[in-house]
Every structure is written in C-alpha cells, then in structure tokens.
Amino acid sequence: MAEYAEANGLKRMGARPALSTYIKDAFSRRDFAFALSSFSNDAANARNRLGSWWMVILPTLQAATYGLIFGVILGSNRPDNFLPFLFTGVFLFAFFSGAFSSGATSITANSGLVKSLSFPRALLPVSAVIRQFLNLLPQLGVLLVLLLIIQRTITWSWLALIPIIVLMVIFASGLAMVAARMTVQVRDLTKVIPFITRVAFYVSGIFFSVEQTLVNYPYVWAIVKWNPIYDFIELARGAVVVGHTMTAELWIACTVWSLLSVVIGTVYFWKAEERYGRD
C-alpha cells in the first residue's frame, strides 16, 4: 500500500512532520501567532472600563507597593540605588513569570482552536510569549520614566535593553514550550506553577542583592549566579541602573541560556506534537 501511495504522490499523514518542516510551517504562519496575542490582549481588557490603561496602571501600582514594602522592611540592608534596582527587577520578572504561566496553559486554554483547526501547536506558547512582550512594552515605558525621574540621567547604555529583551523573548519562548508540553501531560503542574514562580521571585534577587547576601557562602554563590532569571535581570540592571555594569560574563551567560532554552524547548515540544489534540 505504501508503494501504491507513493507512486501517486501521496504523503503519509498523522505522522509528526520532520523538525525542519515543522519550523518552516510554524514560521509561515507567524501572522497567526502575532494576531492571536494582540487579539487576546484586547479581549482580556475589553470588559474593563479603563481597558488597555491597565497595562500601565497595574505595573505602576505594583512598583509603588513593592517600593513601599521592601523599602521600609529592609531598612538599611537595601542595596544601593534601591528604587531603580527594585523596579527593573520587578518589571522584568513579571515578563518571565507571565511567559511561564501563560505559556504553560497556552494549549489547554485554547482548546477550542486546537480541537477545530490543525496548525503547528508551537505557535500557541510562542504567541503567549509575544503577548507578554506586548505587555512589557508599556511597562518598560513606565520603568524608563521612573528611572529618569530618580536617577536624573540617561546614557547610551540604555540602548542595550533592546538586545537584552530580544534574548529574553528567545529564552522565554523555549521556557513556554517546555511548560506547555508538561502541562498537557501532567495537569497537576498548574497547581505548582504559582509556587515555582514565587520561589523564582525570592531566589533571583529582585529586592535584595544576591551577591551581598551570599558573601560568606562562595560555593552557593557560584551556583546561584547561573540562575538565568538572575542573569537577565542583572544584565538589564547593568544597562539602566547607575552603579551596575554589564559584564562580558553576563552577556555570555544570557546568550547561552537563550539558545539552550529555545533549542531544547522546540525539540521537546515538537516531539509530542501529535498528542496535543487529544483530550
């Protein structure tokens, strides 16, 4: 039967496409991923009276709350130039945690699409990351305005945020694809995700300096400093926070993390492609 099919130019269906075909197919439908993320953003805000303004209001409120709480609680233990340090950490961390949790539910939350249309499923977690990126833009606007007000200075190194964010999006896409497949196979994971995000928040040095805290524990520091979230946030601080520098080590770490994440994420997600439609 296989020869008869081949003689008539028929291809085998249902089998998972080769990785290169899969990536090509997904790339040719990138319009879909972009449209899905901007439409979902609109839909999420459509029922609120302030609509898209929430994308600016919420991060501002968040920054004010964290500034107040951690500023008062930490007292004299605060890292230098505390508010810019904290705000950069909080806003960038929100991107990672959002990409992780919405990437994890991207297949299960869009079951209507998954069940009725066939398209490369990787577009769904990627679209969740694009959505977080679209959310990040107004937040970055707020952040840069705050930094300008507090530090009263603007430097060329702010431009380094552009490649940093590109790397962050690449890293988050891999992360989202891994989370998406794991959630489909083990639904219980959705219960653990808020916990994982919390832990990541506390160990990534959002409101304290990891280096200073671990000054007496060089071995722990040697491990902790490879935490990718920490690396990305430190690198971004190097770009915009006075008193921080972008080291070559951080650039290398972030580039390696991004590439590793997107390669592993794509292959891992693609390996289960035919299973996502099944419920």
Partner: protein
C-alpha cells in the same frame, strides 16, 4: 479489515487516488474514575478516588481509497468512530496502527468549538483563516465576503460567545469554505444551520467538488448526504460496514435502524 470491501488498491488504478486509509486503528486511553457516581463506592471519602486507565478501541481497522473529485458522505450512529477517523485524517488525533496517505493536508471543520469565545466574529475569522495558512492581507479582504456568506453582517463585530450555536456553526463553515481547499472535512458542522444556510452550503460543497477538491461530509441528515455526495461510507462500531452509491448505502442504513427499533 472489514470483510465487506476489498482493499481499493487492488482495483485497476484508472482514477487518481487522493486519500488512502489503510487498516487504521485508533485506541483512546482515558483515565476513568474507578467508581460509580452513586452507591456505596461513592461514599469512600476524599482520598478513596481511584483512577484506572481504560482503553477505548474507537476505530478497528478501516480501509478505503478516495479518488479525485469524490464527495464522500460518512454515516453511522453516534460513537461509531466517524469523527475519530476524520480527526485522524486531519492529523488531530494520532493513529495506533495502519497508515493514512493523502496528497494534501486536509482541513477539518468540527463541531462545538467556538474558536475564541471572547473575540468578535471578525477576529475569529482572521485567526481561523490565518491558522489554516492564509495570509493576513487575504483574510482582511475576505472578511466581508465571509460575513455575507454566513449571513452575519450585522453581528460580525460581536463576541463569538454571544452567537447562537447555529450562528457560530455558520461562521465556522464560512471561514473554512471561503477558499478552495484540496481536502475539506465537514464534521456535522451544518447540522444546526437553518434551511436556507444548508442549501447555500451544499451548493458551495458541490462547487468545491467541481473544482477538483475532495470533500468529506459527516452528517446524520440523509438528505444532505444524498444531495451532495457521490459515495457514502457507513461506519458502525469502529468498522467499515458498507461503501458504495449513496442510494444503496442510505437505504441499507435506514433499514438497519428500522430493524433495530422493531426489536
């Protein structure tokens, strides 16, 4: 392998095949809670929940070959495996044994799914078309056409969750059918449409068939099947029961139902 039909490959290959279904098996593995919802077993307390893996053999070795220009009607009772087979053909469900060959990736138009309920009909049209691989520009141009075909011009800017099931089904069909597909599978998607829409969509399906497209129509409406299809396949309990001219198969199917009711 169903006993009623020889593998079509053994026929003289005068017509060009477009889809070959070769001894396809589909087995679902489902976690079932290992107790009944009522009775003593239900009162075992919080942690007594036992789950066991049940496998359901939905399609048991179906084979047939579809030739260019065919419009195939698929009939059979609920739960007979029709939709499973169609989903496998579209690549939405993996098959456990056998193989499916096709010259193009089929597009499936299924029931129930509201695509994205919180988005307007217009945005759902854009997304649906783009997911099927059409360019954004083409979809922007076709929105009015799709809305007109679905008869939803007035409502196209409302969220899809506000549509009735008939309206949603009409929009889904219009999205899928506004362009020619090499292979289109319609799975009971027309059942809730009104009479006028049914006539319009049947005309569209015949048009697609004439432009060398292949259409699979899963339906419980024997009239729809008889009006649009030139070949009918009857699937029962996961096996191919009959394959042939519409009049013959529909007559046999109707007779079998009549006998089952008399018993």
């Amino acid at each position: 392998m169903a006993a009623t039909k020889k593998p079509a490959a053994k026929k003289p290959a005068a017509k060009k095949p477009v889809v070959i279904i070769d001894d396809v098996h589909i087995v679902y593995k489902v976690y079932a809670s290992g107790k009944r919802a009522t009775g003593a077993a239900a009162r075992n307390g919080l942690f007594a929940k036992k789950t066991n893996l049940r496998s359901v053999h939905a399609v048991k070795g179906v084979s047939f070959t579809v030739y260019q220009g065919d419009t195939i009607g698929i009939i059979g009772s609920n739960g007979s495996g029709k939709s499973s087979l169609m989903r496998a053909l579209a690549g939405l469900t993996p098959i456990d044994q056998g193989a499916i060959y096709s010259y193009a990736r089929p597009t499936l138009l299924g029931v129930g799914a509201a695509l994205l309920p919180n988005l307007s009909g217009e945005k759902n049209t854009m997304l649906g078309g783009m997911a099927m691989g059409f360019a954004k520009k083409d979809m922007e141009k076709s929105i009015d056409e799709v809305a007109k075909f679905a008869g939803l011009e007035e409502f196209i800017d409302l969220p899809m969750r506000t549509y009735s099931s008939g309206m949603a089904a009409r929009l889904r069909f219009a999205i899928a059918a506004h362009r020619d597909h090499d292979i289109l599978i319609i799975d009971e998607a027309l059942a809730v449409g009104d009479l006028e829409f049914r006539k319009r969509s049947e005309a569209r399906m015949r048009e697609m068939r004439d432009s060398a497209g292949t259409v699979f129509l899963v339906s419980h409406s024997m009239k729809s099947i008889a009006d649009t299809c030139n070949r009918v396949i009857w699937i029962e309990k996961g096996e191919l029961k009959m394959d042939g001219k519409p009049e013959k198969v529909i007559a046999a199917y109707t007779k079998a139902i009549g006998q089952a009711l008399d018993k």
